[in-house]
């Protein structure tokens, strides 16, 4: 792998939660890398470990009960996993920013929008208060909020959901981070607003040249916006590819299942397929390949039931964790 265009690379990351009921292995042996100014998508059903992966990068996993037990997070040549809390603070919000799923609750209800943006600016940049406020107004304008001079003095509850997510974005990009982690940024929003926010993300990426780690369960978004994709299932990455080839030729049965359940234009009238069963709980992972109980291919295979497949390079830039992937390739 050439390290040149790479901003962040996560290597063998494992994050566990130590609960009274046992160890929940929320993230296991996850590796991927994000190139500069590109969008990398992490896809999977809810509870598969996407958000924990993101929080692990930010080192924001609630500790205890959570803990990063193994792995490296190399960002701009530094391993974030070994930084002190103080050093880490200067990375958060400054070099790596994050926006969350719930714009309704992710802003502090008792402070004005401006106060919260200015706080981030003043924390990382040496600016006077008035300069910071001016910047904040600028940021709000940049994220498409009309009448930012008025809005800046409003409280979150006075704004609509989409506006709040814009404010979150403004806050996140206010320090021009190199990486923006967007954790399901549009899930809680109306469909029309979703598109606006995603367009805004694209636009900001173009302007600032930042990379985006887009976490979503919506493959539709991924197809349009991501440069490359990693599919997560039950704490592991099961497939990594650039988005074009993934959609063209999914290798992992799970990915295939996901794609089949995706409604597409031109295929109306055909009944959508679903993947039977549920995502297993982190405390009760099945032995062997974690997908095998739901897998149309491997459900009866002895090997799938007992031995877990590792992520391996199958062709070009494509990685997959499935015993049968080779055979697909050959087919």
């Amino acid at each position: 792998m050439d390290d040149d265009g790479i901003l962040l690379s996560v290597k063998n990351l494992s994050t566990h939660f130590f609960t009274e009921d046992g160890i929940a292995k929320a993230v296991q042996d996850v590796s991927f890398s994000i190139k500069k100014s590109k969008t990398f998508a992490l896809v999977g059903e809810s509870g598969c470990g996407k958000s924990v992966t993101a929080l692990s990068i930010m080192r924001l996993v609630p500790e205890p009960p959570g803990k990063i037990v193994a792995g490296k997070i190399i960002f701009e040549g530094r391993d974030l996993s070994v930084l002190s809390e103080k050093q880490m603070r200067s990375v958060r919000g400054n070099k790596i920013a994050m926006i969350f799923q719930e714009p309704m609750t992710s802003l502090n209800p008792v402070y004005t929008v401006g106060n919260q943006i200015v706080e981030a600016i003043k924390l990382h940049q040496k600016k006077s208060t008035s300069q910071a406020w001016a910047d904040a107004v600028g940021m709000l304008r940049k994220v498409g909020i009309a009448d930012p001079e008025r809005r800046i003095n409003e409280y979150p509850h006075q704004l609509s959901g989409g506006m709040r997510q814009r404010v979150m974005l403004a806050m996140a990009v206010s320090c021009e981070p190199a990486l923006l982690i967007a954790d399901e940024p549009t899930t809680a929003l109306d469909v029309t607003i979703q598109a606006q926010i995603l367009d805004l993300l694209d636009e900001l990426q173009k302007q600032n040249g930042m990379s985006i780690l887009l976490i979503t369960h919506d493959l539709g978004i991924v197809a349009e916006r991501a440069d490359s994709v990693a599919v997560m299932y039950a704490s592991r990455i099961v497939e990594v590819a650039d988005s074009q080839s993934l959609f063209a030729e999914p290798l992992h049965p799970y990915t295939q299942g996901l794609l089949k359940s995706l409604p597409r234009l031109g295929f109306s009238g055909r009944r959508l397929q679903t993947i039977s069963g549920n995502v297993p709980e982190p405390l009760r992972f099945p032995a062997g390949c974690k997908f095998h109980p739901r897998c149309p291919v491997g459900c009866n295979d002895k090997r799938c039931q007992t031995v877990e497949p590792k992520l391996r390079n199958v062709k070009g830039g494509r990685y997959v964790a499935c015993w049968y992937a080779k055979e697909y390739e050959e087919k």
């Binding site: 939660f17 609960t19 009274e20 009921d21 009960p65 549920n278 709980e281 009760r284």
Partner: protein, 317 residues
């Protein structure tokens, strides 16, 4: 939890009920189980004294009135906690005190729940005028300083008789601890009532209640079959924590001369022992304080564990 639920649990581990899950969590909480053990010991002791008195059994340990040594004997091999001013065993008094104090706390809790829970549920469910009246009632009561209210109730109830002949129970004279727990119970339902009302107001708008309404459940059925079971974990938690405050309220009432008079209770012991303390006779005070301390500690820890186990909000996701 009924049998079906249990079976259901085995088959589908994901769909465990609130209670089953809570209890399972609780069982893993070692400190909580130790606390539960301590509480059980106190309760068993109380039950044992009741039974022994009912059948007039002569167990040495509950003969608190017997003279076992000289006056004010310090703790020693003979009398573990020493003796009091009449040469009675402080240990036996402390053990016997469990009966009085726990009876007070228990009935006070029961009374306050029996009044507070339905009132809170009704107020929260029906709203409107009924709500206004109930809210007015508890706001008024909570505006009056608590200790004064208990005191007034205790004074009002003292020496009165309740006629239960219509129920074939004869008349009950309100004396000693009956007064105390009635007074505490009748005044302290306010907190639980407010809590339940708030919770019911929240739950009322939830889908499952709307669903119940849509298939024509009667109001009383919705309240008692649907709403109260769903907020009942709050009741249980509040019960365990209230118990503590009632045990301690008994101490204050004893000091104000309104407690049990003819039998030892922990409050009465502390009240009596405060006279002995300056003489250096610390053991009666210490024994009663310790008795209160251990059950309060156990109840507090258990109540906390219960809350952690049962409150859905606090679960680790």
């Amino acid at each position: 939890m009924n049998e079906q639920d249990v079976k259901h649990n085995k088959e589908l581990p994901k769909g465990r009920s609130l209670w089953g899950d809570g209890l399972r969590r609780l069982r893993k909480h070692k400190l909580a189980m130790v606390s539960l053990g301590i509480i059980a010991v106190y309760l068993l002791l109380t039950g044992f004294i009741y039974i022994a008195e009912l059948f007039d059994c002569q167990f040495e340990l509950i003969k608190w009135d017997a003279k076992v040594g000289s006056e004010y004997e310090p703790p020693g091999a003979e009398n573990v906690f020493g003796t009091d001013f009449l040469g009675r065993s402080v240990l036996r008094k402390t053990l016997y005190g469990a009966k009085v104090s726990i009876t007070v706390a228990f009935w006070a809790s029961v009374i306050s729940l029996v009044i507070g829970v339905p009132l809170g549920a009704i107020a929260g469910y029906f709203r409107g005028v009924i709500d206004e009246i109930i809210v007015w009632l508890y706001t008024t009561l909570s505006s009056i300083p608590y200790i004064l209210l208990i005191l007034a109730f205790a004074l009002v109830l003292k020496g009165k008789t309740i006629n239960l002949e219509w129920a074939g129970l004869g008349t009950i004279e309100l004396a000693g601890i009956t007064t105390v727990y009635l007074a505490i119970g009748l005044t302290s339902w306010v907190g639980i009532c407010r809590l339940i009302r708030g919770e019911v107001v929240k739950h009322k708008e939830r889908d499952y209640i709307l669903a119940a309404k849509s298939y024509g459940c009667s109001n009383s059925r919705i309240i008692f079959k649907h709403l109260i079971p769903n907020v009942f974990h709050l009741v249980i938690i509040s019960f365990s924590l209230r118990f503590v405050s009632f045990i301690q309220a008994e101490v204050i009432l004893s000091f104000l001369g309104l407690g049990e008079k003819n039998r030892p209770s922990w409050g009465a012991m502390i009240d009596a022992a405060r006279l002995d303390l300056p003489k250096g006779y610390w053991w009666e005070m210490t024994a009663a304080t310790a008795a209160i301390f251990f059950i309060s500690l156990a109840l507090n820890i258990f109540g906390d564990a219960l809350r952690d186990a049962l409150d859905p909000k606090l679960r680790v996701q």
